[in-house]
Amino acid sequence: MATIIDKSPPPPLPQPTTLQSIGLWLRQPGFLTATPILLLFLAGFVGPLVIVLGFSFLPERTFGFHGEWTVDNYVHILTESYYISFMWSFGLATATVACCLLISYPVSYGLAKVFGRWAAPIMLLLVIPLFVSENVRLFGWYLLLLKGGGIFAGTTNYLFGLDTGTLLYSNGTTLMGMVYVYLPYTLFPTTLGLSLVPKDQVDAAGDLGANRWQVFREVELPIAMPGILIGSLLTFVLAVGAISEAKVLGGANTVVISHAIQHEFTYAQNWPLGSSISMFAIAITGILVIYVMGRLDLDRLLGRR
């Protein structure tokens, strides 16, 4: 049988210019189908941010884009005591993430590995509260913990004649409220992460001499880490912007940063200052998140090197 093999290399394909390749990319079905949502994001998400950014460079008490550009607002933030609010927000958010992780890990482990067919109903029970507005749930806690007439204090008073005073208006209660509200955001990504841990790798680690703690450190944690990180990050970013917990359950002397922003936009009627605090908060959170994500050498952290 005769075989025909062309030994010469195929002719080189013409390379498109940069402009041509951008044009090609724009005409791809992927980009075309994404256009509506891109436009929506530009108008509804990027647009308002640009407006807030613009306002942050306008003089005090301006209500439209007319006036001299200025950085006075930022100078004001740095010279006044706003850093206390920032510290409260970031401190509470960090504590919230830590508490949520401590609670989530065992629960996630159960959901992913232990509960079996009960996992779905339990998950549903955890999701149902999300259908109720966060504020309504917080006021539920408020009623429970209210001084004298609250359900908790009232019950202890009635049953044991004990006056517990109130647990409200403290930073501990604020933290409790935040953990309560943001737990699902840590829990579900962590569950997803843990469900990615193959059983046979856990078996293999045990078979190779790893004890329970070593299995956790060497196999479960590294494999579940992406889920845990995403959950932590989501919780952190949301918790930095939290406002109701501190307002409903917290003391009057703790003013978180979102409270300060709300104050400027409503009561103080100083949109430019409110805008600049917002931009400041966004910038710090953004830098922190990028820094942590970039610097976090997972390999080192988990002893892989």
């Binding site: 046979d200 293999a204 680690a205 045990g206 078979d207 001499g209 790893a210 196999v219 590294p222």
Partner: protein
């Protein structure tokens, strides 16, 4: 083999999952240094048995005795045994080196010593040195196999367990790795306990084979014993393509076969049962030119022929049965399809088995 102390004694071991009896009263002694293979179809309980031996499952009854001491309640991480998993269960988030060193790291061996040992093991399993820092996900199927082997060998276990590690590998590489595994067994001198659903694979590698069916260990023997004297119809058919003729005994050594509509001669020393099966391997069947050439002969029609490389297989319709006949290529039948042929075999090539 009776005078050698067993390294592993399995005594009436049972495992029940709810209502399912996965392993049912299995007893077995494994000799130090042997290559023992358990063969059975999926669902026969062989993986469960192996997992109990490795310490990954707890038996619901019976004892596992390793070097004279009962290890039923010893967890996997405290047993001097190691397992190569069906999925290999390599740590995909680690490099080849880290996978191999895992058991040493768990024992607190220093990094430098771990590396020396890993290099040694990579040489043993024929992995190039520069694979040390490579991610396991970037390795090919055969390379991953070697990593899993080296990882299991690292802690110098008394017994190595293998849970069908070659089942997902293509035919040629599997044949190659079977040979390598047998060589590795020889080089290390360790006790290997292997499970597979392929008797062919078991035949190539094992010193002894145990056959499992529905939770029971039904026959144990050397590959040769299993091949020539299968215990029952299940074992004989598990061995590959055989002729299994349903027969009724009329007098010692004489049988009536309804399927073929013929009187057959067979082994005389067959137990008490009146009915059973006469098993004849395809390669024991011959084309006859005269009935006197063999002790048994059957008339049939050549239905089809299949070239199988060095051999040719024929299907011959005889009565209600399709006989399988296999010949070396040089001894191929000279004729054509639909020929009336005479097939025969000798009594010594037939085995009588029960249901």
């Amino acid at each position: 083999m009776g005078d050698v102390a067993p390294i592993l004694e399995i005594k009436n071991i049972t495992k029940q999952f709810g209502k399912l009896l996965a392993v049912n009263n299995v007893s077995l002694d494994v000799i130090d240094g042997e290559f023992f293979t358990i063969v059975g179809p999926s669902g026969s309980g062989k993986t469960t048995l192996l997992r109990m031996l490795a310490g990954l499952e707890k038996p619901t009854g019976g004892d596992i005795i390793l070097r004279g001491s009962r290890v039923n309640d010893v967890p996997a991480n405290k047993r001097p045994t190691c397992m190569v998993f069906q999925s290999l269960a390599l740590f995909n988030h680690r490099t080849v080196g880290q996978n191999i060193e895992f058991s040493l790291k768990m024992r607190g061996v220093s990094r430098a010593d771990r590396r020396i040992r890993a290099m040694e093991l990579m040489k043993t399993v024929r992995l190039p040195e520069d694979f040390y820092g490579k991610g396991v996900t970037k390795c090919s199927g055969g390379e991953r196999q070697r990593v899993a082997l080296a990882r299991a060998l690292a802690s110098d276990p008394d017994i190595m367990f293998f849970d069908e590690p070659l089942s997902a590998i293509d035919y040629q590489l599997r044949k190659h790795l079977e040979v390598e595994l047998k060589d590795l067994h020889r080089e290390t001198g360790k006790t290997f306990m292997y499970i597979t659903h392929s008797l062919e694979e078991a035949m190539v590698m094992s010193d002894r084979i145990g056959i499992m069916q529905a939770g029971h260990l039904i026959q144990v023997g050397t590959p040769d014993e299993i091949y020539t004297r299968p215990l029952n119809k299940f074992v004989s058919e598990f061995m590959g393509e055989v002729n299994t003729l349903s027969i009724r005994r009329t007098s010692p050594g004489k049988f009536e076969c309804d399927e073929l509509g013929a009187q057959l001669t067979g082994p005389a020393d067959a137990g008490g049962s009146e009915t059973g099966y006469l098993v004849i391997r395809p390669e024991s069947m011959r084309f006859l030119s005269d009935p006197s050439e063999a002790e048994n002969h059957v008339k049939g029609t050549l239905f089809n022929e299949y070239a199988m490389g060095s051999r040719v297989q024929y299907h011959v319709r005889a009565g209600g049965y399709m006989l399988v006949v296999e010949k070396l290529r040089e001894q191929a039948y000279q004729g054509s399809i639909d020929d009336e042929v005479l097939i025969g075999w000798d009594v010594k090539d037939s085995v009588l088995v029960s249901d």
